[in-house]
Amino acid sequence: MNSDRIFNVIIVVLMGFVGYLAYQRLYGDADYGKRIQDIGRTMVTSREGHTVTLSSLLAQGDKTDNTHLLILELENCESCLYKGITDIQSLAKSGNHTLVVVVNDWPIEVKSWAEHYPDIPIFAMPKSTFYNHFNLSYLPAILRIEGEKVVTHRDITI
């Protein structure tokens, strides 16, 4: 009798563990949703100097529309920047909606850097905005955003 009960407990625990693994596999890091807060109010500046909300730049349409957002600082490792930009160009080439946000307080600096990439939509974001709304411990990173929700996240390292 006791051994049956122990067996049942073990089965329940194992099933719970399998369920947890399946959830992680399907939905990934539970923190994804918290990586950007108030995305609708996050402001960025275009190369032309226009200030817009980040949400207005995200892919809008049916639920399958998603945006790949590369977020970086100009001081990040050069190889990582190269890899991040190359990945974004590759994603754009295969039909994905892409954006690049450079965390920097001086849009004129971002504009100079962005001259190398005339075909990529590049925006500047003040550091204070980044620290107040983003929960990323490492940059550069590529986020996949569905609607206004971050669904996957990848640090770009060498």
């Binding site: 100009l74 001081e75 050069e78 190889s79 930009i85 001086w106 004129i108 600096e109 100079s112 001259e115």
Partner: protein, 346 residues
């Protein structure tokens, strides 16, 4: 006494013309600098602009030594800097990650004019020196390409257009030893320019590359004549595989490599001569030998000896940091700039 002895040696032992250097000014300031790697220029007003490894860029004048720009991340600020050069009357500073800032003179100060960003490359470019020539930017340093077969290539000079777009790489070398790759990050590389030529040397040997800046083509690679005191660096210089002990042991070894051989410590163009400064690495001799090569024939014309580190040239004057390199030489503690004038003796 040893100055006079070696001055005599330098004047009479070399074939052709002799070079006499006469001290015309000394500026002394109460300011310490640190780190062996440096980059410096003499601006059109005759001020020294430069930085040693552990300091931001400074401007040194007869009556003042001050930071070129405040430290910071803004467009007009400077953070870590790796190379400095002139573009006409403007000063260009290479910061990290391809950030290049241009400053123009306003009265006694340099103000930010524009930033140029070099496009990121797969393995980065570790900058040691920078020059502007014929509307092109030239960087000396290390751009690595790691191959699958263990063999690696590195380019030591890169040319870029005025917007920072890569154009061409020069002085490309094959590197087989894995441990040697990192070593190049500790080496110094030098550029010097005439109106349309760029000259490149690395610190390890007396070889100079000449590049035509108009056509962006390598013209020649010349092995320069070695003076009698020349002590070549060993083939296994900077071999990290021999230094698996504590970091302090490696740093001691680094000082030995930097001072124990006839390492190139600077290269400049003075009129129609290529001036190369090397360490003598011989006890009892002054720290440095100053070699004057004819720019056309690359023949060694004269040699002088000094205990001071060459910072740059302006008109007919050579500027030195007294006592050597503050990161390596005990005598180079305080900021003392010595200015010599060149006089040719037949």
């Amino acid at each position: 006494m040893r100055y006079y002895l070696f001055l005599l040696v330098s004047l009479f032992s070399q074939a052709g013309e002799g070079i006499e250097l006469s001290l015309v000014e000394t500026w002394t300031h109460d300011r310490l600098f640190g780190g062996y790697r440096f980059s410096s220029i003499i601006d059109p007003q005759g001020s020294v602009i430069g930085m040693f490894q552990k300091d931001p860029p400074y401007i040194m004048r007869k009556d003042q030594v001050a930071q070129l720009r405040p430290r910071g991340q803004g467009p007009s600020d400077l953070e870590s800097a790796f190379g400095v050069c002139l573009r006409g009357e403007e000063v260009i500073v290479a910061e990290h990650n391809g950030k290049i800032k241009v400053f123009e003179r306003e009265g006694n100060e340099y103000k930010w004019k524009e930033s140029i960003y070099r496009a990121p490359t797969p393995n980065g470019f570790f900058v040691s020196d920078i020059e502007w020539c014929q509307d092109r930017l030239f960087l000396a340093g290390v751009s690595m390409k790691v191959g699958q077969d263990g063999k690696s290539q590195l380019a030591r000079v890169g040319s870029f257009d005025k917007k920072g777009k890569p154009l061409k790489e020069f002085a490309i070398a094959e590197v087989n030893l894995k441990n040697r790759m990192k070593s190049f990050l500790y080496m110094s590389f030098y550029l010097a320019t005439t109106r349309d030529r760029v000259y490149f040397m690395d610190e390890t040997r007396l070889t100079v590359w000449e590049i035509d800046a108009r056509t962006n083509k390598e013209l020649r690679k010349v092995s320069l004549a070695k003076p009698s005191f020349y002590k070549p660096m060993p083939e296994d210089f900077y071999d990290f595989s021999q230094n698996e002990g504590p970091r302090s042991a490696f740093e001691m070894k680094l000082v030995e490599w930097k001072t124990g051989y006839s390492r190139v410590t600077n290269m400049e163009i003075l009129g129609d001569q290529l001036v190369v400064q090397i360490r003598t690495a011989k006890p009892g001799m002054p720290l440095f030998g100053l070699l004057f090569y004819d720019l056309e024939t690359m023949n060694l014309q004269a040699t002088s000896f000094l205990d001071d580190l060459l910072l740059g040239v302006h008109e007919n004057r050579l500027y030195f940091f007294a006592g050597g390199n503050p990161g390596l030489d005990d005598e180079a503690e305080n900021c003392s700039i010595k200015i010599f004038e060149r006089a040719e003796t037949k």
